[in-house]
């Protein structure tokens, strides 16, 4: 039974959790914009946050062991946090302008890492330190050592859940970022102040005079509340001024998928989400919308003219940028248009050309607001044409539209003679290895499912695929005739565009490069072969390649579980920054997966040395070696749980579909499992804690991760969405549970080696966070994209297995 401190102490821990979670989510979303929505940065931002919180908890140990006035210190820290949070938010918006970064430029990995680590230091340190101090306060009010650690941990976790759900379900829809952050900081300060006022605990009492002063300052700070809107708008404007100068910021919309910004220059409106340019389109006042939206017109007409009689169409994405409008000029009977973000559709309708808005109301069109993958998987309907007009696979979520599994689902949903069309960014001669790898991957993945694939284009590479070779044509004459037959006005879209798109020289070159690159081992490590000068025609190229060596599936087939196209896109972005991290990424692909085991081998080696030292002198080295084993176990728990969580979220998104609230709920379930695990361990340990139990938990975790490694890829075959959700909820809850058991066990064992409560707690908490930090960055940046989900889970398994071995080896007594 947890011995209960006064409710107010629990409330303080709870509100620390709420505040921490709210602050983390808000700042993460803001920083993502600064980095142009680069998903890599999520791993780095999380890692920086976790790292500083970990260091903060160590700092907290130092503070807690001094004879400090607890209440005073905590209150001062809370007030400092109240200040620091909005300042951090403001700085993150002004970051680009402050460093004079050119508009439109992607920041390199190193730049992102440095700015995150500098920016997140103050709030991370404060929150981490406060955790350890609250543990001390809890202990002093109950007199129980270990339950104070577990109790604080659990309350904080509960606070995290509450904070997360509050944000997703309520706050993001109504409040701007500054208001949310002021709310977060204010909540903690208010709870602490109240606690201090009404407490009976001697540890938390404060002299009345000082208290009044504090309260006055608090009230003064709260008056910032009405100013928040002004601060929010001004910082937004300053930020966008440095990101897209001389474009006026017309509107910002808080969508749960990322903040949307609408910018205007003359008669052109550009739509950004999380700082990433989605598309530009002509505005309502524009007379030039046909010229302005040319790209979407080319996309639409190229697709539609390939099919002899396209009546049933499925369009995923791109409708509001004009593709839908152009498709409807053809004799379409039924069109299903899928768009994920309702807020984007709504805000775009206010600004794009009237003709585009009208196309949404066309009686032939059914607008369906859902995740495209989810729709295709569940739909029983078949189509003549499926067109995907989505952004490049630059995020894990976008990668799902370019995988083997998706193409299989698409192929099943096509009528006989049906075709599939998609596009991706490319360069003039496909020379760089990253972009060539990425586009060759897209080509080969398509080619593995469809019988006939034709890539065409230059800056924008279009892929058209079908099951019969007679249907997909590179004859521009045929396409032109169809366009004219369908009575599409020449002034709208000239048939000559097909001559441009299918210009023989460019077409042969692109086809040659894409068809040849990726055949044979290790071809992804060097740039693609340049094509010979006199190239065979497309038909001959296809015939030749069917006799050639097989495609290196490991590096050139994109799958839901091994998102290699996503990885290459990240390398490509990195290459654009011309920084050394591009080279680093390339080196990463040289890495043999088994090398991931190397650090664990090092850890084992250390253990052997320590064991030898213990044999030599048990007194000095005994405690040290036990603590090493315990720290390593805690580190690997943090590491493997985070790694597994990244992999799980990735798979869930792939299998279930990207629905923001579901992802939030899954994370909340993890925390619930965590709390339950901690409570359960609390109930059972008491004085029974010893390293062997911890070792057994590590073993269970290892086996669990290994099972998931085998099992996760098979989840793709589960058809019922409810089953998928329940399954993933269960798995996540269990992961949280196992993680939760770890904490009180480890703290208890540490305590037994002679360390004080705060010291043990702080050390365990901090080390777990370091592990989680490393896991976040490694899994998000390298493990999942390069090695895939199964290998990621196996790495987690190995981490825990190594911990098991080390504990058994070192902490036997």
């Amino acid at each position: 039974m947890l011995s209960c401190p006064p409710a107010s102490v629990r409330h303080v821990a709870l509100s620390l959790g709420i505040t921490g979670q709210l602050a983390q989510v808000v700042i993460l979303r803001e920083l993502l914009i600064v980095f142009h929505g680069n998903e890599l940065s999520i791993g780095i931002i999380l890692a920086a946050w976790l790292l500083w919180t970990g260091i903060g908890s160590y700092v907290g140990i130092v503070l807690a062991t001094r004879a400090l006035d607890m209440a005073h210190t905590l209150l001062m820290m809370a007030m400092a946090l109240f200040f620091v949070l909005p300042l951090t938010l403001a700085f993150s918006r002004l970051l680009r302008g402050f460093f004079g970064i050119l508009p439109g430029v992607y920041l390199s990995f190193l730049d992102i890492a440095c700015s995150c680590f500098l920016l997140l230091a103050p709030c991370g340190l404060l929150i981490g330190a406060m955790f350890t101090l609250i543990v001390r306060g809890w202990r002093e009010s109950t007199g129980k050592a270990i339950s104070s650690a577990a109790g604080t941990y659990m309350s904080e976790a509960l606070g995290n859940i509450l904070g997360g759900m509050l944000f997703t379900l309520l706050l993001v829809h109504y409040l701007n970022a500054f208001l949310m952050i002021l709310l977060a900081g204010g909540l903690l300060s208010a709870v602490l102040a109240t606690h201090v006022l009404y407490t009976n605990t001697p540890a938390f009492r404060l002299p009345k005079g000082r208290l009044l002063l504090v309260l006055t300052i608090l009230v003064a700070l709260l008056s910032l509340w009405p100013l928040s809107h002004w601060i929010d708008t001004t910082t937004w404007r300053l930020q966008w001024h440095s990101m897209a100068p001389e474009h006026s910021l017309v509107e910002t919309v808080a969508s749960k998928y990322g903040p949307i910004a609408v910018l205007c220059r003359e008669d052109q409106y550009s739509f950004y989400q999380s700082g990433n340019l989605l598309f530009s389109a002509a505005g309502k006042e524009s007379e030039l919308f046909l010229a302005e939206d040319l790209e979407s017109a080319v996309f639409a007409h190229f697709a539609m003219c390939h099919h002899e009689n396209p009546r049933d169409i499925l369009l995923i994405g791109g409708g509001i940028r004009g593709t839908l409008r152009e498709i409807l000029r053809h004799p379409v009977e039924r069109l299903d248009y899928i768009e994920l973000d309702r807020k984007l559709v709504d805000v775009a309708q206010s600004y794009v050309a009237e003709a585009t808005v009208a196309s949404l109301d066309d009686p032939r069109v059914r607008v369906i607001l859902t995740d495209g993958r989810l729709f295709v998987r569940r739909s029983r309907k078949t189509y003549d044409m499926i067109i995907v007009d989505m952004p490049d696979p630059a995020t894990a979520s976008m990668n799902r539209y370019y995988t083997k599994e998706f193409f299989q689902e698409v192929s099943r949903s096509l009528n006989p003679g049906g075709m599939f069309m998609m596009g991706a960014e490319s360069t003039v001669n496909l020379r760089g290895s990253a972009i060539a790898n990425r586009n060759a991957t897209l080509f080969h993945t398509l080619d593995s499912i469809f019988e006939y694939v034709l890539p065409a284009g230059q800056r924008l590479l279009l892929f058209i695929a079908g099951q019969k070779s007679e249907i997909v044509s590179c004859d521009s004459r045929l396409l032109q005739d169809r366009l004219l037959e369908r009575g599409i006005d020449r002034t709208v879209f000239s048939p000559r565009h097909f001559d441009l798109l299918l210009e023989e020289g460019q077409l042969r070159r692109i086809n040659w490069i894409l068809r040849h690159h990726g055949r044979g081992p290790r071809t992804h490590l060097s740039p693609p072969q340049s094509p010979p000068f006199s190239l065979p025609g497309i038909e001959e190229q296809i015939a030749q390649s069917s006799h050639g060596p097989a495609v290196d599936a490991r590096s050139f087939i994109n799958s839901d579980f091994k998102p290699i196209a996503y990885y290459y896109t990240l390398v490509y972005w990195g290459g654009l920054t011309r920084s050394d991290h591009a080279a680093l990424f390339r080196e990463l692909s040289h890495v043999n997966p088994l090398w991931v085991l190397f650090p664990f081998a090092m850890a084992l080696f250390f253990a052997v040395i320590l064991r030898a030292l213990v044999v030599f002198s048990s007194r000095t080295w005994g405690a040290v070696s036990t603590r090493y084993a315990l720290s390593f176990a805690v580190f690997t728990t943090g590491f493997s749980t985070m790694t597994l969580q990244v992999a799980l979220l990735f798979v869930f998104q792939n299998v279930y579909g990207f629905v923001y609230e579901m992802v939030g709920l899954i994370v909340a379930l993890f925390m619930t499992g965590l709390v339950t695990g901690t409570a359960t361990a609390q109930r059972w340990i008491r004085d029974k804690a010893n390293p062997i139990v911890l070792a057994k938990v590590q073993a269970i975790l290892a086996i669990y991760c290994a099972i998931l490694a085998v099992f996760l890829p098979r989840t793709a075959y589960i058809s019922s969405p409810t089953s998928v959700f329940l399954l993933f909820s269960g798995i996540t809850w269990l992961s949280g549970f196992l993680n939760g058991i770890d904490f009180p066990l480890a703290t208890s064992c540490c305590h037994k080696t002679g360390l004080g409560t705060e010291l043990s707690t702080g050390m365990v908490y901090g080390t777990e966070l370091f592990g989680a930090s490393l896991g976040a960055v490694l899994a998000g940046v390298a493990l999942v994209p390069i090695l895939g989900v199964a290998a990621c889970s196996m790495t987690a398994a190995f981490a825990n297995a190594a911990a098991f071995v080390i504990i058994i080896f070192l902490a036997r007594e």
Binding site: H36, L102, S270, L277, A282, R496, G520, P521, P527
Partner: protein, 398 residues
Amino acid sequence: MLYIAVLLALLSVMMPLNSHRNNLPRRKFLRRGVGTLCSLGMAGQLAAKDNSPLQTARLGLIKAKRSPWFKALENGSISCELCPRRCRLAPGQRGFCRVRENREGECYTLVYGNPALIQNDPIERKPFFHVLPGSRALSISTAGCNMECKFCEVWDMALVAPEEVYAYDVPPHAVVRYAREANAQSISYAFGEPVVFYEYVHSIATHAKNDSLLNLLHTNGYISPSPLKALCDRLDAVNLDLKAFDDTFYRDICGGELNPVLASLQLLNKEGIHVEITNILIPSMNDHPDTLRKMCRWICHELGPNVPLHFGRFYPLYKLANLPPTPVSTLERSREIAMEEGLKFVYLARVAGHKAESTFCPNCGTAVIERLGFVVENNLLKDGKCPCGEPVPGRWKA
């Protein structure tokens, strides 16, 4: 012993996992370590049967030749005199352009005969609108560039060292032969930066001239006067990229300078070479009406009102990947400004289908050459004249 067993079990689970996931039998999985030689060999097999050097590009091919464009300094250092950068190179050091090197106190070009790009294109693609419309040109280019524009389209060829690209082995006389075989009427030194492979250009141009092929240059104009002058008697037409009429833009965004480029334009004009100018308009960076007006005024005054000017649309790419494309209305407005300042032939590039891709007679306004992108739809010119009689300046015949 328990833990070793666990480890072994885990290891054995991982191995078949890999091969199963990729549907490859174990044998192929083990072959992974074989190496690139295999793939290169295969690629060679798949290429067309002709064994000419043009058919097989090699990674990192370097063909060095001594260059006369340098000045010897003390201690074996040299000052390269080809472009206004005037790189001072210690022995063994490479210039900013990555393709010129100091070897034992002498300047060597590393790109004499190893083009990374050799392709056959319509002439309108370079873009040359007033030279042999509808004909084909053989384009040739090597790695390297003496500027570093943040909106570079060919950065993966130009802004890299020659060791990092695939190149063909093509001596200058062979270029001309290939051009003839491809039924090209001209050779264009385009896509990369011809200034940095000057010696190669000079040699090919000499052979081309002897064989009645036109020599077309597409350059950034960042070259010293002497080498440019020495090339002029072999040149037939030049398309110069005037990045902006603003030295700050040149320095910050391109890593170059404005004045030497203007000097090149003046020199070309004096030598009587047909010049066309390309200007990519990047929103908020170089599209201000006042600056554009000054630029057009300068062009009209220094080079004459007949110089074709191409305003190109910017699309997000390379280092400016998140900046929106140029609004078409900005392009149209810029064209109006240019025509107000007296320029007669102003085009919009990269807005395929726009009427400003066609050539209009300055007198009667008829569309004498109709174009869509690089496709010529209709050509009404007879002996370089509009049906109304007005001459339209340009190189209409070989």
